[in-house]
């Protein structure tokens, strides 16, 4: 369980924006010096608000775009420069599930061909007949019927299309699957089904999952570890339960308190963040979060905090100068109950848990 399957070391990705014949383009640093490691068999969730660079990070990990600097190591191989055969092999072992199940399937191809195509590349030895059998198996695995193979993507609902996307990702027999907001384009009722399917498949096939998400309720039930991103950098990471129970970074605390709930009569104790997320073209000096942080002080404006271990559990790290103070203060101030999680949010988690309890969900020891 502690074998590292994918490791990123100081990954950075810049984009040039603007710029014309006469103006030099500006540099937008979408991902800044991100280091993380994914253990074999675990589910790592990367969360953050839109524009924080999580999709860019996911695409870099998948090698759909290449990093400006930094290294990536997959099963001991360095992959940031992989090309040709090495890249094809990487694609076999590492697959991607896209956010939008409508636009990510080629409308001109039958489902059978869409799912069977990776087999043609990665298992060229299969005959057409064997491939059809394999496609039927893959479709069955995601809860679709073999006869669906002859239909076109437009004949399916969003949830079914995402299942097709998952079957396609599984076709090459990957060890690691990266999902870029795999359920955010779906109805809430369908989200739970698809998340369950993913967690079932992970257990059955021994997959490692990296999930990009912004819905914390989804993450809570799916992931072993969470990394929180803000403005291109990881501000806190740790075991899911610890992060949800005892967040140490002010941004994480604000995120958790913002989880909405539909329940009458509840008072929400929200930490309201003021202002917009600063532009990554011109990030703030010092701590990236200081412009919106309720705890911000003078040194936050000048010194960049690094990720460091907190007092809770090994592996729980946060990038804040005042982890200790926040820990001491954590109990009463912002969230009621002292667990960094409002009652309202907890209620929503419970609702979400109930909603998918009917379907199988991986048992998880609650703290």
């Amino acid at each position: 369980m502690t074998e590292t399957i994918l490791e990123a070391v100081k990954l950075t990705r810049d984009f040039n924006v603007g710029g014309s014949l006469f103006a030099k383009p500006k540099t937008l640093r979408a991902v800044a010096d991100v280091s993380l490691s994914v253990q074999k068999g675990e589910t790592l969730a990367i969360v953050g608000e839109s524009g924080c660079g999580k999709s860019t990070l996911a695409r870099m990990l998948m090698r759909l775009i290449s990093p400006t600097s930094g290294h990536m190591i997959f099963e001991g191989r360095q992959i940031e420069q992989a090309k040709g055969r090495a890249l094809t092999e990487l694609r076999r072992d590492m697959q991607f599930i896209f956010q939008d199940p409508f636009s990510s399937l080629n409308p001109r191809m039958t489902v059978g061909r869409l799912v069977g195509e990776p087999l043609e590349t990665h298992e060229p030895g299969l005959s057409a007949k064997q491939r059809r059998v394999k496609v039927s198996e893959l479709l069955a695995q995601v809860g679709l019927r073999p006869e669906h193979a002859d239909r076109y993507p437009h004949e399916f609902s969003g949830g079914q299309r995402q299942r097709i996307g998952i079957a396609r990702a599984l076709a090459s027999g990957p060890k690691l699957i990266i999902g870029d907001e795999p359920v955010s384009a779906l109805d809430v009722s369908v989200q739970a089904q698809v998340m369950n399917l993913l967690s079932d498949l992970r257990d059955k096939l021994g997959l490692t999952l990296v999930l990009i998400a912004h819905d914390l309720a989804v993450i809570r039930h799916m992931s072993d570890r969470v990394a929180v991103m803000y403005l291109g950098a990881i501000v806190e990471e740790g075991p899911t339960d610890v992060i949800f129970a005892e967040p140490r970074h002010p941004y994480t605390r604000a995120l958790l308190s913002a989880i909405p709930v539909a329940e009458h009569g509840r008072t929400r104790h929200q930490i309201a963040l003021t202002g917009e997320m600063p532009s990554p073209i011109d990030p703030p000096t010092g701590c990236r979060f200081h412009t919106r942080c309720p705890f911000a002080r003078a040194e936050c404006r000048s010194d960049v905090p690094v990720l460091r271990e907190t007092d809770t559990e090994p592996g729980h790290r946060a990038a804040c100068h005042f982890i200790e103070e926040i820990a001491a203060e954590a109990a009463p101030p912002a969230p009621e109950g002292g667990m960094g999680l409002t009652d309202a949010a907890r209620a929503r988690f419970a609702l979400y848990g109930d909603a998918i309890a009917g379907v199988k969900i991986r048992p998880r020891s609650e703290t």
């Binding site: 759909l64 694609r91 991607f96 896209f98 990510s104 080629n106 409308p107 001109r108 437009h154």
Partner: protein
Amino acid sequence: MLSFILRRLLVAIPTIILISIFVFALQKLLPGDPVLAMAGEERDPETLAFLREKYGLNDPIPVQYFRWVGNALTGDLGISLRSNQPVLELIGQKLPVTIQLATMAMIFAIAIGIPAGILSAIKKGTAIDYVANVVALSGLSIPNFWLGIMLILLVSVKWQLLPASGYVPFDEDPLRSIQVMIMPAFVLGTALAATLMRHTRSAMLTVLTSDYVRTARAKGLNERRVILKHAFRNALTPIVTLSALLFGELIAGAVLTEQIFTVPGFGKLVVDAVFNRDYAVVQGIVLVTAVGFIAMNLLADVAYVLLNPRLRKQ
């Protein structure tokens, strides 16, 4: 699929009726009395009356129209005033020449325009893209007649590589026939190739940034397959539509090109007929061209449906 084709054919009928009315009206609206033209120097009232009676010109116009349509439906488009040959026979003689010219021009345009468009989309922003665009823009801007004359001067007169004009029927000597037709086809196809290239490029650029192309890359497919199977298939729809519409331009261009290279084709027949006020021939040609244009668009619609599974079941 069959019912779709039948339905499209039914829709084509009113269009053809409209065109026939227009073509018929053309003859009636044009100044000049065809009877006078036919009678020539003889202005004897009796002869004129006889001719009017003979050609049914005293009947009410609707009656004349239906007679003309009835004849046209049985393949009788009238008789050329000039050569006294049946119009249909004249067209039948000239049409194969133009079809050969148009086909060769289209093959040339597709063979150059589409690969160039794909290449410049893939290499967007590079030197290849710029060169392709400049060449395409030149191809669009250079007038046919100038290009034709320059080619004749260079290739035929100076280098003596290809004949400057003439025509050899394809079934007589295929090789020679193609040889003679190369230059006219090139001239006719240049603008088409440029148009096709520009549209292929923009269609490919749209498709190449789509999510499913990204999916195809994530699958680990090689780039060739991503581009040809995933991207190009989807970019094909606008290209097919455009090709059908270009058919009209092809005919218009053929008129000019055939003049330059004195190819005895359909285009030359039109020009001659117009100069000679040979209305029956002009009418026949307009009708045949219009029907051909409708047929091409029908084919494009069918191809459209074949290419796009989303349209198939409706």
